[in-house]
Symmetry: C2
Amino acid sequence: MAALLVIDVQKGLDEPVWGQRNNPGAEANMARLLAEWRCRELPVIHVRHCSVNPSSPLRPELPGNAYKPEAQPLPGEIEFTKTVNSAFIGTGLEDYLRSHHIAALVVVGLTTDHCVSTSVRMAANLGFEVALVADATATFERRGHDGTLYSADDMHAINLASLNGEFCTVRSTQQVIDAITAPAA
Amino acid sequence: MAALLVIDVQKGLDEPVWGQRNNPGAEANMARLLAEWRCRELPVIHVRHCSVNPSSPLRPELPGNAYKPEAQPLPGEIEFTKTVNSAFIGTGLEDYLRSHHIAALVVVGLTTDHCVSTSVRMAANLGFEVALVADATATFERRGHDGTLYSADDMHAINLASLNGEFCTVRSTQQVIDAITAPAA
């Protein structure tokens, strides 16, 4: 069974510095998925960003480094900390997955186009099977190099379109829950 | 000085199966950059995709695996072959860069949101300084998981907006050429 990989669901991403966000219900969907995984005793893996950027609210000594309540790990659940976007660089995540014979991941978290996309891409390229939960991820509006401002919804949708089929299968929270709660054939 | 990293500029990407593309002049811009790098004897690195997907025109035994003429390596230039999107997975690229004390990359090639984006993300997360040349990359229209069709221009622009500032600096061909041809201060 796939592990639930929860990326960077930290309080510092609520700071206004990031701009407008999409999917305000993403954390509630993450909490639903966590509840399903936990009640089935399926593997849950937490990833926490510990920024080395002097101006980031996700620096380890700041309150913004803390997990949001919806994604707070329970005792006994494993956590990997990282300093870059990819959950696979500078962490023991790949070794952990291989040593625990985990070949598939269901990915949720923040942000769709930065840490989530980078981690999904590397997971797929390392040979893991990845499902990405569209309504349990979210991102922010971003400005292009030419000054154009793109909405968070557009950033989210187009980044998912780049990932779907090439690196992962994009699913909804309900689709994932329906699949794991379906009676065995 | 930065190495010019040329990703997947192969004939098989001209097949109609990929859909509508943007930036028809991208290959001409890659050729301009290659000429500038070569006449200054700066490092050029070629990456070639050797697909293991049965239906891909980029399989090594197919004519589509060949480089396009604009990106044909010269004798003595190094090439890395890969089977996944990232130029850093399953290749010696990282070791090569470190052993040659190359800390910065100027990235061009195909496609913006698949192999180029994945390689740029990993390069940045591994600590390399990356410039990505917007008009010397290109991508295709793509369909989202909900069936929405996004144009190649939208895919390109929004993927660059996700990368710029976080993983790389987005530049134009002319900006890169102006910078390397500027008289030393």
